[in-house]
């Protein structure tokens, strides 16, 4: 339940940042900083037990939401990046605790992971289409 809440928070914060930055054209810094600030005020107030964790997750996802449109062209890309951020956050809770920039590093790793997965899928698709065996199968059929 907690993991689902963390992933859902990450998706919401990531999407909010991405939309403010790219659809409302307010810039990545203002988008991320405003989402971070609002989550830092709202989450501890509305979720007394898990508020601190959720505000950190939201800040982390907002750093991921600063990704450029060239690297994450659609909202689906942003949802996937945010989901990876949520998962990675739960796995790395104790790693480098207290080191400034830890959350941004989680966001960067998540972005690279998703870009890698997407590019691999595109490359595999191209290879399959260009495979002579696949064509011959088409001919024989």
């Amino acid at each position: 339940m907690n993991i689902l809440l963390i992933i859902f928070t990450a998706i919401a914060a990531g999407l909010a940042t991405y939309i403010i930055a790219n659809y409302l054209n307010k810039g990545a810094v203002l988008a991320s900083a405003s989402v971070t600030l609002v989550s830092g005020i709202i989450f501890p107030y509305f979720f007394p037990s898990m508020g601190t964790t959720l505000m950190v997750v939201a800040a982390c996802a907002s750093y991921g939401g600063m990704v450029s449109r060239k690297n994450a062209p659609s909202l689906i890309d942003m949802i996937m990046i945010s989901s990876i951020i949520g998962l990675l956050f739960t796995l790395t809770t104790t790693a480098y605790a207290g080191v400034g920039g830890r959350l941004g590093t989680i966001a960067a790793i998540s972005c690279f992971t998703w870009i890698g997965v997407r590019n691999s899928a595109v490359a595999a698709n191209r290879a399959r289409k260009g495979d002579p065996y696949s064509k011959s199968v088409g001919v024989w059929q």
């Binding site: 405003s34 600030l37 990704v67 920039g101 941004g104």
Partner: protein, 119 residues
């Protein structure tokens, strides 16, 4: 690395942003998330273009706990190192979300190592 006017501006901005975030975080008790968010919003509203990004990136260093950046002097040092890392890595991985945080983490770990040597 030659020092021109823009690089000095970046270093001063990084030092100012990191130390301010550290002050808001620890002295005023706002916590790291609100402190960094506040610095980011102010920077985005009042500082032009890329410099706002530099201020926001440097503010991540100021989010460090007291075990990592134990004093205001070390926070100033962290800002200086963050500025140097930002200058050195301007072209690297532009457009990747979290690039600023990774830069800040590198600067923070270097600062922690140096402060450990100082004692």
């Amino acid at each position: 690395m030659t020092m021109d006017k823009s690089k000095i501006k970046i270093l001063l901005l990084a030092i100012g942003s990191t130390s301010l975030t550290w002050m808001l975080n620890h002295h005023f008790g706002l916590g790291p998330i609100v402190a960094s968010g506040l610095i980011g919003v102010v920077a985005a509203l009042f500082i032009p273009g890329a410099l706002a990004g530099i201020a926001y990136t440097s503010s991540f260093v100021g989010m460090s706990s007291l075990t990592v950046l134990p004093s205001f002097f070390i926070a100033l040092l962290g800002g200086l190192i963050a500025g140097m890392v930002i200058i050195a890595t301007t072209e690297v991985y532009a457009g990747i979300g979290g690039k600023g945080g990774t830069t800040a983490a590198a600067a923070t770990l270097v600062t922690k190592a140096i402060s450990g040597l100082i004692g």
